[in-house]
Amino acid sequence: MRTFDYVRATDTQEAVRLLADDPAASCLAGGTTQLDLMKDGILEPPRLIDITRLPLHGIERRGESLHVGALATMEELAAEPIVAERLPVVRESLLLGASVQLRNMATIGGNLLQRTRCRYFRDPGVAECNKRSPGSGCAAVMGAARMHAVLGVSERCIALHASDLAVALVSLDALVHIQGPTQRRTVPLTEFYITAAESPEHENVLDHAELITEVEIPLPPPTARSGYLKVRDRVSYEFALTSAAVLLVIDGGTIRQARVGLGGVGSKPWRAYEAEHVLTGAPVTTATFLDAAEATMRDAWTVPGTEFKVPLARRTLVRELQTVAGVTS
């Protein structure tokens, strides 16, 4: 690991100013991505700004929104009674991610900003990586791709965004509150990410000197049912091969409202609007769910190692729609 200067920020404005003053500085939250990549020699900031003491830990319900401080941990958010009651899809996406130790460290802001698990990206010995060195090529497209994306990708980069939480949050239309040196702004999470097809090196719209301060989750109607299914190579403590976040409001055998997010497939957490379109107003049957799944993944761009994800993602979605709706046939 390269040497760095460690600075502990104590208020948000100060942290933002420290970032603005040093274009090479990085901020450190739970460290589970940041320190990991520094140990690998992928990130080499000369200055680390520890933001974990900023007063951004609170989780608070205001009206029909849940306001989650960027530094609340994954375990803290999962433990909130309101999350169990009104946001099962969020709770499950959290508890199916990483391990308890990591979830006690990992923050909500950091989770949204986690970097890809592409092993070529994480190996400084690999020269071809457009995400690390724009224009150098992509080792994964020619190499062993499996934990890679098939939506929002191109031959320039097929890196997966591996957050489970973000998949649940895009499906819920969460908002990201951001503070910069001169202004605050709010960006819908669905507009926060940039796909690898658009730009391998830019993953989101956050500027260098901007901090995520809060994530706002609008509470779905009390009658909504939701859930998260994660399919992986081992039962626990593993990233998703595919996953589905589903929220349904059902009324008398008809789907009134549907929200669908897909994980394990996108270079950004993927919102499946086509599936929602098929589901909304349709009868609650497996036939509907199969149609909805068929409507997704049409734009998939695969390499030999990732072809399996197209049918697997569709089956994952059908299964979770059945589970959430309580329909088996």
Binding site: M1, T3, F4, D5, Y6, V7, R8, T10, L28, G30, G31, T32, L35, D36, K39, L48, D50, T52, R53, E75, A98, S99, V100, Q101, L102, N104, M105, V235, S236, Y237
Partner: protein
Amino acid sequence: MRDVASERDVDSRSTVNERVVTLDVNGRTYTLRLDTRVTLLDALRDRLGLVGTKKGCDQGACGACTVHLDGRRVLSCLTLAAQAEGREITTIEGLTGADGPHPVQRAFMEHDGFQCGFCTPGQIMSAVALMAEGRAGSDEEIREYMSGNICRCGAYPNIVAAIRAVASGGGHDAHL
């Protein structure tokens, strides 16, 4: 407790990449001058001689380095020593009380919850936290919430048995 705000004083960073760090470990306070890169794991093992906490992967994947920070289980290999300042750190060495080993430690011995023993301190720190979290209700639950601790020897069935024994047999101090 120390005043966190005062830690920003420039004189606590004597040179650019070193820092004086005060750590509260198992009820004792240590003041160390550390390279900023030093993780909590390396500070514990190399500087304080508390080698019960193990370094397996050093990358957040195996759980061998599990310690408690303010009562919560975390990975010391992905925590900078400086980040642990002002927090209450408990390591495997801090579990043993005046009346001998912690009930979870005893259960691991009784149930052969290990073979080589390398993962064991991490397993035990995790297991103690698991019980405090109220997640030892069934074997399935124990397995899920212990999944961050890998055992290359595959002692899993006995680890689950040891935890179950403490959780169900209880005993007065099972929830320490």
